[in-house]
Symmetry: C2
Subunit: 603 residues, 2 copies
């Protein structure tokens, strides 16, 4: 009976998180929005962002409805319900988060008039809404469905729903933001020699919209999925390894609930003291959330299991988070050696710059990998495969504060853009510029975290997959245990196909960005040439044209690469069997992990 209460505690924590996100939203919206011109510009960004998001969700809905029909007839109504909940909650999280972000940007610009510390607080609170929605809706879905059906196997549909939104939102948003960015910079900064975010650049609004749909809504959907899947994977491992002992299933939920409360408290630690760097202020919030969560994890663990054993696995997960954040910061921040060495190599020209940049990027992919390896081994020694699951869940429980720090990025980036376009006094730019600069580092840090956590989550899922297959085969009367031996040619074939997938996926995504950017470049060039008086500031560019181009392109181009993760596993599974499918999953994890880190640090 006692166990039945725990999922409800988790649901309560999730509801508190959502309420707090509501409170933050009201707080941010109460801040003064600034001048008429600022409201106008922010309005254009809002409009573009919402138009894109609506179109994106509508397109995904088409795919989603097909899947719902297949699921309903194939796996029954509970899995289908889970799928719908996962997809809707994930969409909701991106939708709400982005809506607040596009309303925070101009308020940060206005707050900058009162000084850096206050502007930082407004930007962070705006970002925290996305972060809290992400974990709270994730936990609400998982814990809520578990409270109703009491079997983690029913939750797989929920994870799948989150995955669907994640793939397309990340892809569409990513294509949008990158092509708008490249298009705006190529013609504006490089060819015409006007500054970034200059109102004369026809792609400047599309660029600002891109920050929101890519880095805010896209990242939220991505981490919602990872969070939900990790929680479900850990619960499945608990059920498989400790059958009949429900506390192993609910423990991940308890960790998630505690971490939400810790995140809320931690958010109050994001304050800029005299002479402190902005990044330090943000890290204070992360550190506080981590420490408070650990303080909560300990008694909860001993209460549930009567021993602190799995607390140490959770500790490993939190430690991995902090180490990866530190390492990404080290490799992308201007303060340290790697970026400095690239700057030095640039002196002898373009090619040596690229070579040494690539070299640093490759180096950067090693240390997070070794951190994850250490995390896997230590948590395995502590608690077996379930220990790895708990470490992953603990790592993912930090998602709220990490996404808050990340969403701060597009908000300050937009704030800087609005300040520039609305021609605010240089004092304001002097405050939004450093805020924005930090945003580039936080963006990279979040990506590092997202990649590392996705790697761990994938490993947890892989274990769950192999355990499930064994169970299904046993039920079907096949006694021989399926084993994924590395040297088995079928597993090997899967490993190589899986290893190729991240490359195909990136190839397609980059091709899409290239094509979309090409169109933006041509459009910007056309406007520069055809609109009289644009360069002299006498005429306004047609911002809407660029927004339209990237919106259409991003929606169109996300379809083919987006279907790869849906279709290829089915093909491999049916054509080459379960062993090749398992190998494929692992192959994707290995090359995907390194390629992702490489592309993040190299960017």
């Amino acid at each position: 009976m006692e166990n039945a209460a725990f999922p409800l505690y988790a649901v309560c924590a999730a509801v508190i998180g959502i309420l707090f996100a509501g409170y933050l939203t009201v707080w941010v919206l109460r801040q003064p929005p600034g001048s008429k011109r600022m409201i106008e510009i922010s309005g254009a960004i809002q409009e573009g962002a919402m138009a894109y998001l609506n179109r994106q969700y509508k397109t995904i809905a088409v795919v989603g409805i097909i899947i719902v029909i297949i699921l309903y007839f194939g796996l029954g109504w509970i899995t289908t319900l889970g799928f719908i909940i996962g997809a809707v909650f994930s969409s909701l999280c991106g939708y709400v988060g982005m809506n607040v972000a596009v309303r925070s940007n101009l308020r940060v610009g206005e707050a900058a008039k009162k000084g850096l510390p206050f502007a930082l607080v407004v930007a962070f609170k705006g970002g925290a809404v996305t972060g809290l929605m992400c974990v709270s809706l994730g936990l609400l879905g998982v814990a809520g469905m578990y409270a109703l059906f009491r079997d983690p196997n029913y939750l797989i549909g929920l994870g799948f729903g989150g995955s669907l939104i994640s793939v397309f939102a990340r892809l569409g948003g990513g294509i949008y933001t990158k092509s708008a960015d490249v298009g705006a910079d190529l013609v504006g900064k490089v060819e015409a020699g006007i500054p970034e975010d200059d109102p004369r650049n026809p792609a400047v609004v599309a660029d600002n919209v891109g920050d929101n749909v890519g880095d805010c809504a896209g990242m939220a959907a991505d981490l919602f999925e990872t969070y939900a899947i990790t929680a479900i994977g850990a619960m499945l491992l608990g059920q498989l390894f400790f059958p009949g002992k429900e506390q192993y299933i609910i423990y991940p939920l308890v960790l998630g609930g505690i971490a939400i409360i810790a995140t809320i408290i931690g958010s109050y630690f994001v304050r800029l003291s005299q002479g402190q760097e902005i990044m330090t202020a943000l890290y204070k919030g992360l550190a506080a959330a981590a420490i408070i969560a650990l303080i909560g994890f300990y008694p909860a663990t001993t209460y549930i299991f009567g021993s602190p054993r799995f607390f140490y696995a959770a500790l490993v997960g939190v430690a991995v988070t902090l180490i990866i954040v530190f390492l990404t910061d080290y490799y992308t921040s201007k303060r340290f050696r790697p970026v400095k060495s690239i700057a030095r190599a640039s002196q002898s020209g373009h090619a040596t710059n690229i070579i040494s940049g690539l070299s640093v990027a490759m180096e950067a992919s090693i240390s997070p990998a070794l951190t994850i390896v250490a995390g896997i081994l230590v948590s395995y020694v502590i608690g077996g495969l379930y220990g790895i699951g708990i470490a992953s869940m603990a790592m993912l429980s930090m998602t709220g504060i990490i996404v808050a720090i990340d969403s701060y990025g597009p908000i300050t980036d937009n704030a800087g853009g609005i300040a520039e376009m609305a021609e605010l006094p240089p004092e304001v730019r002097n405050i939004t510029d450093p805020l924005d600069a930090v945003g580039n580092t936080t963006k990279a840090v979040t990506k590092g975290y997202a990649i590392g956590s996705a790697g761990l989550a994938a490993i947890v899922l892989f274990s769950a997959y192999t355990q499930e297959i064994t169970r299904v085969r046993l039920e079907a009367g096949i006694l021989e245990k399926i084993s994924f031996l590395v040297e088995d040619p079928w597993v090997l074939a899967g490993l190589l196909i899986g290893g190729a997938l991240p490359f195909i996926f990136s190839a397609l995504a980059m091709g899409a960005v290239g094509r979309a950017a090409y169109e933006v470049v041509n459009e910007v060039r056309r406007q520069f040439k055809e609109i009289k008086g644009l360069m002299e500031g006498k005429a306004r560019p047609e911002y809407g044209r660029c927004v339209d181009i990237v919106t259409k392109r991003a929606i169109k181009e996300m379809m083919v690469p987006g279907l790869i993760p849906v279709i290829v596993p089915l093909l491999v599974g049916f054509l080459l069997g379960a062993k090749a499918l398992g190998g494929m999953l692992m192959g994707v994890i290995i090359t995907g992990l390194f390629l992702a880190v490489l592309l993040t640090a190299g960017k």
Copy 2:
């Protein structure tokens, strides 16, 4: 008794190969060397190349002697002898091949006066020496040692000796050629606006030397190793799976011997017919060698086994070779879609060019991977793990003709450079230029082949490793079979560490290239500034200074990355055990394969 003769047949074929290489050398040296100025320039390249190679081998010898001592006391004199034979033969192959190449270059320039078909024959014959030395010395070493000791386990030292030279020769040569190339082009072509190979460029001789030490000597050492290791791996699998049946051990040697004869005959098919493309002439040689080899493989297989079963595995290997060559050609040749699409994207500027180039490069890494996957599965279905071994050996048996086509590249490249520097009439350049252009494609094709074959060889070795470990454990009384399960955290840790290694390695190598290129750039700039009358062609640059810089840098910089493949496996094996080591090997194969293809196509 009958079986005893087969290794001797293989030895005979190897000796025939060496004799034919000698004949080709004499033939090439009999061609007229051209004007005094050409002899002078070629002399400078020869001098630089030999100086570098001597220094490189001396440096490797230091590492080699340490390893010899360790091996002698650890594994006994036969393994040590094998190690020495492997290292000496590999060095000899690079040494002889490069010596002929640097003497062919000016003769190709002179032959160009008699027309394209004749120049092509001279260049190809010059390159064929390296190709034939590579396979003949490889087979001589392996078959000779087997004939003496009759146990493939004794041959492991030989493979290791080849590996040592391969790692350092490839690294040192690669750092040399890339940094000289980047340095020469950056200041010469980009900054000063003078053409490639212009005699006014102080780095032009170093650049020409680089082609020889990198693409000729380095590639030869690389493929010598892969060839030897594949042969040994296939023999080991034969011994492990068919104990007591010696024909399974000697069959790979027979394939190697037949292929050498086929390569000699095939080399006569490299002829330019009226109106034919140069690449087609080279492919005719490859196709002829492949078909003749297969015609020889069939009766040999039925004679040895009484059934053609393993002939089909060999057929798979040859088919994989041809398909990979075709695919690399498709992705790097100007004639086809991928390169054209990059050219189109370049119109909108630098960034879209890079993005679409990367996108094509990623796509390029998929098709060879799928080819290898198909090769693995088909040959496994045909003949189990031994079938994979035979397919790999058949693929590698084409090494002679492939290296011949590859070594043709640096020779024609140098020929063009000498023609430019010696100010030969434009008719000559009109012949050396298209020869040289084809050289860039053949270079990429060979790299594609080297990567694919190394991937297959690594898989063969991995199987041999797991089988060996099982045997060793059984002998030590451990009955429990060791299994490399993908989801086992130790294997997983190994997979991730292994996956990181190619990235570390590339990071270090690229860092080295960046640093060396930086020095070359500064030196070239200095000479442009300080040497009066250089630009007007009144004074000569100090070529030797650039040659010295890259020689020193390449030797110095190859040490750290070169030691990684030696030291990391030892560390992982001792610290994390055999499972992690196995996982590591597989991780290296997976990311290494894709990263290598990516960097080749992206270059």
